[in-house]
Subunit: 231 residues, 2 copies
């Protein structure tokens, strides 16, 4: 039976931009597993109530339901141990958790400020009131005030990427010779920006730019082929 995954969708249902859903999409592709994604909106809490919570990704694999991208990676490694591993060993797992927090605490924080209004415009009109209210409460200002200019975002990102840049001068992927779940965690943040915004945030001669290109090429261009919102 095909695995199904609830995946955050924009006003254009083909546009998928959740960084957490992208982690799971890449993890499924890493395992060579087919998935049928189901377009989901912030307001569709009832559609995933069966998972016992209100966030995507939610995976349904036969009778098993798993939510949370990290739990999905662990589930896939446990259930499909003969496929390429996502989180390898105690050290690989623990350190991927560090890369995950670097992605969501450091990189996503900057990207969020850079793409805020593009993100707002890309989501479904029915989601916008919820999005504005919840995010303005979280950041403590209006979305418009929270947004920063591309130059400021590029400067902040340039600094924040320094450890990643140094690593990617020495190895092709964050996980080493081959991409794995730490790569997908960081890449998810960049797919979020890519699929809602046309702002260019990384210089083309930056090693992290070349890494992102390699990530876009993985699995027959899975991420590169994904539609982007048009303004």
């Amino acid at each position: 039976m095909t695995i199904r995954m609830y995946d955050l969708a924009g006003a254009n249902p083909a546009v998928r931009f959740s960084p957490y859903c992208w982690r799971a999409r890449m993890a499924l592709a890493h395992k060579g597993l087919d998935v049928e994604t189901i377009a989901w909106r912030f307001s569709d809490k009832e559609a995933i109530a069966f998972s016992g919570q209100g966030l995507v990704p939610v995976l349904r694999d036969g009778d098993t339901i798993v939510n949370d991208s990290w739990a999905i990676a662990e589930y896939l490694d446990k259930t499909y141990p003969d496929r390429p591993v996502l989180l390898d060993g105690e050290q690989g797992r623990a350190l991927a958790n560090f890369a995950r927090h670097y992605a969501q605490n450091v990189l996503s924080g900057i990207l969020f400020k850079a793409i805020m209004m593009d993100l707002f415009n890309a989501i479904d009109p029915g989601d916008r009131a919820y999005f504005r209210e919840s995010r303005e409460k979280r950041v403590g200002s209006t979305l418009e005030q929270f947004q920063i200019a591309p130059d400021a975002a590029r400067a902040q990102l340039n600094t924040a990427l320094s450890p990643l840049r140094a690593v990617l001068k020495e190895q092709p992927f964050i996980n080493g010779r081959h991409a794995a779940f730490a790569d997908y965690c960081v890449f998810g943040a960049f797919m979020w920006a890519r699929n809602v915004s046309s702002v260019s945030l990384i210089a083309e001669d930056d090693p992290t730019h070349a890494w992102r290109e390699r990530m876009l090429d993985l699995f027959d261009g899975l991420a590169r082929k994904s539609p982007r919102a048009t303004a």
Copy 2:
């Protein structure tokens, strides 16, 4: 035959503060290996000329000479495979490299500005002219101008520690349930600050503070027992 290690020493030869030497000291202890450290000064290039370069740590294990803390970790894992592993597997190794660059590019950059004058005063008087000239050239200002106030350093460090803090809320060590080389890379930066300066940079309720305390306790308090420079 006892392993010997050339270890950067201060005006007080018992004060050892090189972050790279601390990585190696902790790695040796992790392997349960005894080491005889040899106090070394920046000006003693001749003493380590046998290693073909001019930086410490330099390890001599029988007929084998290894310099560079990362190479030392790899050497120890290869030579003593039955002892606890420092860099475990492809993913563990690749991701430890990310933690290493986070330590030296992000954390050490802030610590350097915070402890600059304490560091200058802790090193041997014979090393100070070399240190001032090489470091002022590197940072593009006088040491005195480069130094930042403790409050500024605490604020910068508080931001920079955000991914580490998040990880250490979920697991006791960066490497997971047990400390290993990624922990030693990050810890080395903090030992550098601890052994030359009395400035307090991390709040006591920060999870990174508790982690540092656990690190100080490892191997029968190896790091905690190490002498600190007195102003």
